[in-house]
């Protein structure tokens, strides 16, 4: 079986400008929603108490909300979680009431209304922890960005590093934009997914860059644009198949992972889709705008090739 029967190199770079404008618009829209709507942060970040309660029969969310509101807690959120029988109750941090009292009070009140209510999970996070988690998340993001840039700058060249990071940060912002637009809950696992996507879609760009470097060595007469087009064309089948395989795994998580893994898998899905787009259309184009050329990559490597025949980066010997 062969899905991709491409006769000649597809001129991806001819439309580079269009693609970059499209990503810029998507990016700006995402930023706009991120600021206008903000992320719907989970209890882990905001602090507060979360209760997951299960009932023997489909739960009446309105009744649950009324019951909890009667206890005098402000800003109570109640929603279904996973199935109709499970209810998720969120309480913000309350003054003068400890977390234990809070969850016990709520459970007691719910049991009075419906004896079949049983506690499945409670979570309490103090306000100081939430701020720290947000700070740690940003630190992790900075670490990933700097780490990947340094690695790519050493292994390839700074222009590639910049291109890869811009392309992939744009993925991250777009994922966040989706979460802001739909007001999906942004929790710690989602943060993990976002950073994993960053690493994953950079690896996508790396595959293309690797091919660009190889082509520079192999096809001495091609122009930079032709080389990029050839690199993308010859890796496109791999790109689609790999992403397809990863997406199958993520889909399986989305289908079987239940409510806990739902948003995690969703973040990955968006990340994977935009990861393909950004590495194919954005990263290479930015590298092109930045003016990558043969001399940047080939000079050092030629010397190395003669010195070490086993070097895995050595050019083709066809």
């Amino acid at each position: 079986m062969e899905f991709f029967r491409i006769r000649r190199d597809i001129p991806f770079m001819r439309h580079a400008l269009v693609f970059n404008v499209v990503s810029l618009i998507t990016f700006l829209t995402a930023v706009f929603f991120l600021f206008s709507r903000g992320l719907h942060l989970s209890v882990e970040f905001t602090g507060g108490t979360l209760l997951e309660v299960t009932y023997a029969q489909p739960a009446d969310v309105g009744l649950v909300r009324d019951t909890v509101a009667k206890l005098g807690f402000a800003d109570v959120q109640v929603q279904n979680f996973g199935t109709a029988r499970d209810v998720l109750i969120r309480l913000p941090v309350q003054k003068n009431v400890s977390s234990a009292q809070q969850s016990n009070q709520v459970m007691a009140a719910l049991k009075v209304v419906d004896a079949s209510a049983s506690m499945r999970r409670t979570e309490f996070v103090g306000p100081q922890v939430g701020d720290e988690l947000a700070a740690d998340g940003l630190k992790a993001l900075a670490f990933v960005v700097v780490g990947i840039m340094i690695y790519l700058a050493v292994r390839f060249e700074w222009k590639f590093a910049v291109a890869a990071i811009i392309a992939n940060l744009h993925d991250v912002i777009i994922i966040l934009g989706f979460f802001a637009f739909f007001q999906w809950e942004f929790s710690l696992p989602v943060l993990a997914a976002v950073l994993a996507v960053l690493g994953y879609s950079v690896n996508e760009s790396v595959v293309i860059f690797d091919r660009i470097r190889e082509n520079f060595r192999r096809y001495r007469k091609m122009t930079t644009v032709e080389i990029i087009n050839n690199a993308i064309t010859s890796t496109i089948s791999r790109t689609i198949i790999t992403h397809g395989s990863t997406q199958m795994m993520v889909l399986s998580m989305l289908l079987f992972g239940g409510a806990t893994l739902h948003y995690f898998a969703l973040a990955l899905t968006i990340g994977i889709l935009f990861g393909i787009y950004s590495s194919v259309f954005v990263a290479a184009a930015i590298a092109m705008w930045l003016g990558i050329q043969r001399e940047d990559l080939v000079k050092g490597a030629v010397v190395k090739k003669e010195a070490d025949p086993n070097d895995p980066n050595a050019g083709a010997t066809v």
């Binding site: 309490f124 289908l255 992972g257």
Partner: protein, 626 residues
């Protein structure tokens, strides 16, 4: 060209054997078990306890599947939960005759059903996190400022006593936050006091200031001393928590320091958070009282007479009753430290107590009046008292340093010091994070994670086999090997597996297939360009390797960032993610090449390879390269 030397196959076989062995315990499932561990620091679980447990089971006529001494606990495995409950009662009766004063924790647990030879190799199933097995998680923040203030308070009392002893006149000692201010009338006295500070208070640093007509000496706790005080406070709090949690009868509690001022407590299987929190927050008290040595008390001690009026009967740890007066001389508040040590002259093990200024004064007076009599140190928890030690007073004790010695082993001295210190919390704690997960949710989460991984794996494997034919089969085998290695390493490291960890497992498999897709596409490309099958395999693997390495490193950087900065669920994700990337490089490249070499490498005149359709743009028609 596509042949592996023997040593490479040897590595593959070795990895395969080790992988299978260590992943194996995960497939045996778990059996109900009873776990016996020490309920007190002074109690040791050893071979003797093992025989006791075995005897108890035998006398109750219960057939245990297996009884082993595993580290500091004994695990008895049973076939069903009924036997487990019966056995728990039997063991409880034999080991803990006095329920109000348990020396052992007898708890229900689940133990891997894997055979003894696997357990002997330290092959254990993966360690499941709370979200998979249910239980309670607390994160407590220790108020370090309070610990330092408490210390400064007790030091200021000590300073007062020392200055008085040296006859140095001051015009006032006050504590401002964590600093101690001493005022003097003239500079000469201040210099004398300065000498005392240098001599006796190595933990304090002093600054001389002049305030109008007054001469001031401001003492603050040195940074390294402050760090030590904080470390001790944290350690003491952890010890105290240990002692308290033992009463809950939790099979495998986790009590760990996190960062500089935090303690994480995880109690698998515990559902009653209210009770757990109650126990964690409880304060124990220490009391010093005199032993009643009247004739009536003597006879009461042997059980012959009534306990005299104004006295109470308590048990020593050895079980020996002691009649103690009701009047309290000192409480734990006056005890600043307790450390094990050795007597300078007799080389006997001792317990050295440090008292604060008020305690010192009272202690000196009491000991002066009661030389030759016995004094008891009692520990009260949950309103139940126990005599920790009841030494005879040899001489008057001043200076606030008390040495308890006589008939103690080094271990006992250590334990007593620990008990005295652990009696109370060194600094107040606050719960800043709390999670409770019901047991049914845990089981559901395991099922969800398991299904995600299984179905994802099956779909990817089927796709690979259809798309790349035999090479797809090789890739799927490599992917399965990757999963095996990952499970084996997680079991070996006993890293905590959480639901995000299982998600990472699924994700990493999805990413790992990338290596094989890269390789297979590359081989197809070489074939398309007219390379011979053997050469295509060779160059395909070689060329793809650089790309695979680069792309995995970038993914690994992201994984390491998550590991370094993540906490809780993120860390659980990151551990599996990072390990998975590393195993995928081994399995996806080294192992899969081994399989391919094994299959194709021997064939010298290889005409075709089964890697699916190779489509050539020039011919315009697809040729099957089979």
């Amino acid at each position: 060209m596509n042949r592996y030397p023997v040593w490479k196959y040897a590595i593959i076989v070795f990895a395969l054997v080790v992988g299978v062995l260590y992943a194996l315990p995960n497939f045996f499932g778990e059996s109900p078990a009873v776990q016996v561990s020490a309920g007190k620091t002074a109690v040791k679980v050893d071979a003797d306890t093992l025989t006791q447990v075995e005897a108890a089971l035998k006398s109750a006529g219960i057939q245990a599947d297996q009884v082993v001494l595993d580290g500091a606990s004994i695990k008895a495995r049973f076939n069903d939960t009924d036997t487990q409950l019966k056995a728990k009662d039997a063991i409880q009766k034999a080991l803990v005759p006095d329920v109000s004063n348990p020396s052992y924790v007898v708890a229900l647990n689940l133990v891997s059903r894997s055979p003894t030879w696997l357990t002997a190799m330290h092959a254990a199933p993966m360690y499941l996190g709370l979200d998979l097995r249910g239980g309670v998680h607390f994160m407590l923040q220790v108020d370090m400022q309070a610990a330092l203030t408490k210390r400064a308070e007790s030091l200021s009392g000590d300073v007062r006593t020392s200055l008085r002893e040296k006859n140095i006149r001051h015009s006032g000692i006050s504590r401002e936050g964590q600093t101690i201010e001493v005022k003097f009338h003239d500079a000469a006295t201040r210099a004398q006091a300065q000498a005392v500070f240098q001599d006796q208070f190595s933990d304090l640093q002093t600054v001389e200031t002049a305030d109008g007509a007054e001469f001031k000496l401001t003492a603050s706790i040195k940074p390294d001393a402050a760090r030590r005080i904080q470390e001790q406070a944290l350690k003491q709090n952890i010890t105290t928590l240990h002692n308290r949690i033992n009463e809950l009868g939790v099979a495998e509690p986790v009590i760990q320091q996190q960062g500089l001022d935090r303690i994480v407590v995880q109690l698998p299987g515990v559902q009653d958070t209210a009770k757990a929190k109650d126990i964690l927050g409880r304060t124990a008290t220490l009391e010093v009282r005199m032993v009643d040595e009247s004739a009536e008390a003597r006879s009461a001690e042997t059980g012959a007479g009534m306990v005299p009026f104004g006295s109470e009967r308590y048990l020593e740890r050895s079980g020996q009753p002691v009649i103690v007066k009701k009047q309290v001389i000192l409480t734990g508040e006056n005890l600043t430290d307790a450390q094990p040590g050795f007597d300078g002259q007799t080389q006997e093990p001792t317990v050295n107590l440090n008292l604060d200024a008020k305690g010192t004064r009272i202690f000196r007076d009491v000991t002066r009046e009661n030389v030759g009599k016995r004094m008891a140190i009692l520990l009260f928890e949950k309103g139940k008292g126990e005599v920790v030690t009841a030494p005879v007073i040899r001489t008057e004790i001043g200076g606030g340093r008390v040495q308890i010695s006589g008939r103690m082993t080094t271990v006992e001295a250590n334990d007593t010091a620990l008990l005295l210190r652990a009696g109370s919390l060194a600094a107040p704690m606050e719960i800043i994070e709390e999670t409770t997960i019901g047991p049914s949710l845990g089981a559901e989460n395991i099922a969800k994670g398991f299904h995600s991984v299984t179905w994802g794996f099956v779909t990817v494997a089927i796709f690979m086999c259809i798309y790349y034919m035999l090479f797809g089969v090789f890739s799927s085998i490599a992917l399965a090997f990757n999963l095996l290695l990952l499970v084996a390493i997680l079991s070996m490291l006993q890293a905590t597996l959480t639901l995000p960890g299982m998600a990472a497992m699924a994700l990493v498999l999805g990413m790992a297939i990338d290596s094989n897709v890269l390789i297979n596409e590359r081989i197809r490309e070489e074939l398309r360009n007219g390379a011979s099958p053997q050469a295509a395999i060779h160059t395909g693997y070689d060329r793809a390797w650089a790309t695979i390495f680069d792309s995995n490193i970038t993914t690994l950087i992201a994984g390491l960032a998550l590991l370094a900065f993540g906490s809780g669920p993120v860390r659980g994700f990151a551990v599996v993610h990072c390990l998975g990337i590393m195993t995928s490089m081994f399995s996806g490249v080294f192992f899969s090449r081994g399989v391919v070499n094994f299959w194709y490498g021997r064939k010298n005149r290889l005409k075709t390879v089964s890697i699916g359709t190779i489509w050539r743009p020039d011919s315009g028609a697809a040729t099957k390269a089979e």
